[in-house]
Amino acid sequence: MNQAQFEARHERRWREFAAWLDGGVGAAAIAPRDWPQRYRQIAHHLALARDRAYGPELVDRLQHLALAGHQALYGSRGNALAGLVGFVGSGFPALVRRESVAVAVAAALLFVPLLGLIALLLRWPELVHYLIPQDQLASYEAMYAPGNRALGPRHGAESQLMMFGYYVWNNVKIDFQCFAGGLLFGVGAVFFMVYNGVMIGAVAGHLTQLGLIPTFWGFVAGHSSWELLGAAISGAAGLKLGWALIAPGAQPRLAALRAAGRVAVRLLYGAAGMTLGAAFIEAFWSSMRSIPAEVKYGVGILFWGLFALYFAFAGRGRGRAEGDDAH
């Protein structure tokens, strides 16, 4: 068959394929279940044209169609919403269970200094001056003074939305810092975990020792589980990156980093989601003055309990299958 016959025979199908790629009027000419078949046919024609040394213009045209078909057919767009539901419902807790070592280490880096400083400051209150400057301490004390109308760093009726934006910006940024700090061989992640543990512990210990218990603990109780667990998990994601760089095992560092990155970034999605939740609760629930502290304690403990159940049981059995296709 010479080139002219070849072109005459297949011209119509090429035009249809091109129209389908453009998504224009002729697009409907190919039924969806035929797409892959038509694409393979283009690839086949391209191979034929090359092999028979047909003109470069024909080869280029077919190559162009094949490339565009490749771009149109490959790639995983997926259903973002279904993926999200699956991830929250089962993929994320299953992932956290799977990465329990990294999460446990990150949690220890955060919670040990935190709880340790609270204990230390209850015993030796003056230690706080080594950690936090006087003026900052004074502002914290003023924030949680019993007479305030609203609780938290700022007050004012319509400030909730503003504070929400501020919390999102600030907290999520910390998550990202912990994660990206993992790229510095994990040093950044470790630093930010311990640093945050120390700072939070120092403030909490100081305010507890001053006796501002109902205001401070009432304020933080609700979102503490969301925020602290989110920070620990984002730290775990950073540690995974760092560990892949330190001990890549039997593969090149870059390959190890990429493999760890795929897991770590999904931990980070979950952590960022939790931190977002924390910001929401912090802005709209924790700052409400009218709710008695006892109720807030109760809600806080309830969240901690729910998270324990969530991470222990959610998605058991089917977490793997659904968690793996999210990227």
């Binding site: 799977r98 990465e99 095992g249 039997a250 593969q251 090149p252 390959a255 897991v263 793997r320 968690g323 793996d324 296709d325």
Partner: protein, 493 residues
Amino acid sequence: MRIEALSLALRPRTPWEAIDLGVALARRTGAALFLCFALPYAGFALAVNLLLWGQPAVAALVVWWSKPAFDRLALHVLAQAVFDPGLGWRRAFASLRQVPRTGLVAALTVGRFDFARSFHLPVAQLEGQRGAAARQRRALLDRRARGAAVWLGVVIAHFVVVLVLGADGLLRLLSPQGGGLSLRLTDLFDASGALTPLYLFNAAVILADCVLEPLYVAAGFTLYLSRRTDLEGWDLEIAFRRMAARRAAAALGIAAALVLAGVLPEPAQAAASPAASAERKAIDAILASPEFREREAGREWRRKGEPDARDPPAPGAPVDLSFLQKLARVLAELARIFAWFAAIAIAGWLLYHAWRRFGWPARTPRAAPAAPPDVLFGLDVRADALPADLAAAARARLAAGEPRAALSLLYRGALAGLLRDGHLAVRAGDTEGDCIRQVAASAGAPLTTYFARLVAAWGRLAYAGAPPPATEAHALIDDWERHFAPPPRGAAR
């Protein structure tokens, strides 16, 4: 110019792609490019700053103004590197003396304000054009690439700022007090006259230049090459030449194949004797052991979602208990060490008690100092165990088709002779190589050479099962006679 010798892929490129190629070229040229620019440039900058001490702004201006002179060094190296990808920095450095000076004055005066400086530099430096001809040439080149060339300069200038502030930021990140260089752009306009920040700034800018200026020159150069490829159809020339070569080769094809078949050497020394196959197997077995396994990172097709057997265990695998194995291994290792200590302690205790009960064993007469050992490398090297006329015996073995026995005799004889003459003092654990070194230290060169030759032949035979060719074996025996012809028996101490 021999464009067929260019090690760049020639094809029509957009100006942006040509600039990217410059980055790749700079990366490939590597140390040759960056050192040849950085050393002279940084040295000059240092000298200027020292000469104009107290006036950092003036010094910075002088350094900045002179930069085109150093661009020439970078271009000179790059122009060689496009033909010679393996250009090392030593050779590049030696070639810097030949950098042409054409148009240097223009480059440092009018040309200093040319926004497409690195793009135009090859016109003056490589083509050697001047005056009106150069202007015309530049206008022709500019027609479709000037925009990109100017943007290149702008972007590189911004990259300098990024690296300067980045270096400062890195120091801030690393230092506990968050000090860093404390570079602030406002310091540049500070009238109070503090010099330190300005000098820090100068240093940071010079360092950033050392990285980015070669990149700038390389990108300008590839942009120039790409533009000439367009203008003169270099890629077409290569394709046409290749076609001509293909036709010529096709005509000569059959004849050439015949000639080649005659000329090609025999496949080098394939499977020697069947006797070697056992050793071959042993070698293969050793090469197959884990120590010799190669790890290779690569990409290949694999079904989606299908775990790769070579991957580390999938994260979803049931709880990984391999750490228990590792723990067990560590415990076992500790137990082993403990057992050794225990054994040594018990042995010591027993000895102690034996001594307490029986006193020292009666002294045996001391052995003569440095008595030659009887066995070396598993070979009996006592002079008595060797035949009187060793060379003849070896020849007989060789004639009988037993090269191993013949060489073994020679080797043992040589060792015995060396021990006897005091050239060797072998300790346990010495290797053949150690022996050769010892011989070299105390015996003459001919003997050392011979011994090394003999050791090598023996090693090939004993460990690889490859017997030496007959001529070599006979030569070894003859030489042995020359070196170790046994002296009268009585002389052996």
